[in-house]
């Protein structure tokens, strides 16, 4: 039995832990900073919208779907984009259809349940806020140590990769509220859809239908350009009711077409709000511990993109999927530096386009992207292709991220 320690009980850590446990032949320990009950009843920690491909990977790793659309009543079938015009109505406003449904399960609900299921299936759970000193000693007791905790001191063990990190400061302020009593958009009352409202020079309002501990809900998520009118949630810090009121006031002001359906929103629970910011970063994947032993980083420990494209949990799922395959294929050979680097390299190959796309979305849109957003309102094929790119972002390299390919594609679509 090979012994593997996974530090961090989030999407990547637990998906990988379950995958190894189900594969058999591994003694897997997950170190979680908080017990399951605290995760479940604590403050929200994330936004997430997992698209078809990432959901398939997690179901394969877990061997069970705890929140099937049929059982939970939660599914997302569309992805819409709106951009304001000269008056209150949006100038761009369309809805792409997802070919596979997406889901947004509150990580409080999901990670608490996954951690309990992991223990129930025979995995070892240790509740401990890991320190560098812990890892240094534990690396001697395990065949492989994987760091899957994207926050905290131990992340600093992984050096920033300047070549792959175009930004050194946060590009958005983030403000999240989980709420009940938001209605669907009037123009598509029967389609549960995630909505991107792009407000030039101000930021983005993303509305995500979700599932939380008290049932289905919506996430109202403002991404504010630093120093702008959205970057003002500091003044409502530690006051969830004021946070929600501020969220709604900003919607009324900058995305008025969304206001009516959100006007009666109520927080799902006292811990339903979150505000913060971080700089997008790619890090080197291998940490050298004080003793010289090594630890391998995964998911947002090594690739932390801005949440603007909703890819964090999707990338975590892609990472767990990649690392699981690499570990299983490695058999009983040692998990040395070459193995660690090769494993990360396969992951990077899967998310390099996604990272470029996410970083591009943080900058003002170039003309060819505006052309695409406009054309999607006239041609459903364009809207659908854009929406389904969130599940398989590599497709964006063939049009959205390349002005020449984009115009070739649009010319072909409009000629039909």
């Amino acid at each position: 039995m090979r012994k593997i320690l996974i530090v961090g009980a989030g999407q990547a850590g637990l998906q990988l832990a379950h995958g190894l446990l189900l594969a058999g032949g591994y003694e897997v320990t997950v170190m979680s900073q908080r017990p399951a009950s605290e995760i479940r009843h604590g403050r929200v920690t994330s936004t997430q919208c997992m698209f078809g491909a990432a959901l398939e990977m997690e179901r394969r790793a877990l061997g069970v779907d705890l929140w099937s659309a049929a059982g939970s009543g939660h599914r997302i079938d569309g992805l819409g984009v709106s951009v304001p015009g000269p008056d209150a109505a949006p100038a761009i406003n369309w809805l792409g259809q997802l070919s596979q449904y997406a889901q947004s399960v509150d990580q409080r609900l999901k990670m608490a349940a996954w951690l309990e299921l992991f223990a129930e299936r025979g995995g070892t759970v240790v509740i401990n806020a890991a320190t560098v000193s812990d890892l240094d000693h534990l690396a001697a007791l395990y065949d492989l140590v994987i760091v899957a905790a994207g926050k905290g001191d131990i992340v600093e063990l992984f050096d920033r990769d300047a070549e792959r990190s175009p930004y050194s400061a946060p590009q958005r302020s983030l403000a999240v509220a989980y709420v009940h009593a938001v209605r669907p958009r009037e123009e598509h009352p029967d389609t549960s859809a995630v909505r991107f409202n792009l407000i030039p020079t101000v930021g983005e309002l993303i509305v995500i239908p979700a599932l939380t501990t008290s049932g289905t809900c919506d996430i109202l998520f403002w991404e504010g350009i630093p120093g702008g009118p959205i970057d003002t949630f500091d003044q409502v810090a530690d006051d969830p009711a004021a946070h929600l009121a501020h969220t709604l006031e900003l919607i009324r002001r900058f995305a008025p077409w969304e206001y009516e359906r959100c006007a009666e929103a109520e927080l799902t629970d006292p811990g339903a709000t979150l505000a913060g910011r971080y700089a997008p970063v790619v890090r080197h994947p291998i940490a050298a511990l004080p003793s010289g032993r090594l630890a391998l980083g995964i998911a947002d420990v090594v690739v932390a993109n801005d949440p603007i494209t909703g890819q964090g949990s999707n990338n975590a799922s892609r990472a767990a999927d990649t690392y699981l395959a690499a570990i299983l294929a490695h058999g009983d050979r040692p998990y040395d530096q070459a193995f660690m680097q090769a494993t990360f390299d396969s992951y990077w190959a899967r998310v390099a386009v996604c990272t470029a796309w996410t970083n591009a979305m943080l900058a003002p849109p170039p003309p060819h992207v505006l052309d695409i957003l406009g054309a999607a309102g006239q041609h459903q094929d364009v809207a659908d292709r854009f929406a389904n790119g969130f599940s398989a972002p590599d497709d964006f390299a063939d049009w959205l991220l390349d002005p020449i390919k984009a115009s070739t594609y649009l010319a072909a679509v409009t000629a039909r």
Partner: protein, 120 residues
């Protein structure tokens, strides 16, 4: 006559059995605070032979009940390592993790915890 059905009948995935859920909840919620007492179950020197040195040290030290803090100090290991080793030993029944102290722990225990923390 029309029959109606509940739209979302309460159910749980069939492969997760009730006792399993209890075990999962217990283990996923078990936080070993620095004051938790650990004691070895029927110490057997033969068992030490197959153990890693750190594991054996915990197994031997807990012949007399020790707190997590005392183990960390006494064995000069970080708390996280002690939590892992105790968890492993408890999983195979070699040590017993005492229930959390009642609302008002006894003064002697508190002093020991304090000493242990001071020495970390």
């Amino acid at each position: 006559m029309t029959r109606t059905y509940a739209l979302h009948a309460p159910r749980r995935p069939s492969r997760v059995r009730p006792y399993g859920i209890t075990r999962g909840r217990t283990a996923a919620d078990r936080f070993l605070g620095v004051e938790r007492l650990i004691s070895t179950v029927e110490f057997d020197p033969q068992r030490v032979l197959g153990m890693l040195p750190e594991t054996a040290a915990v197994y031997e030290a807990c012949r007399y009940p020790r707190t997590i803090a005392e183990l960390a100090t006494g064995l000069a290991l970080p708390l996280g390592v002690i939590r892992v080793l105790v968890g492993d030993l408890a999983a195979v029944g070699r040590v017993r993790i005492h229930p959390p102290a009642a609302d008002i722990p006894d003064r002697h225990l508190l002093e020991r915890v304090l000493r242990g923390l001071d020495n970390l």
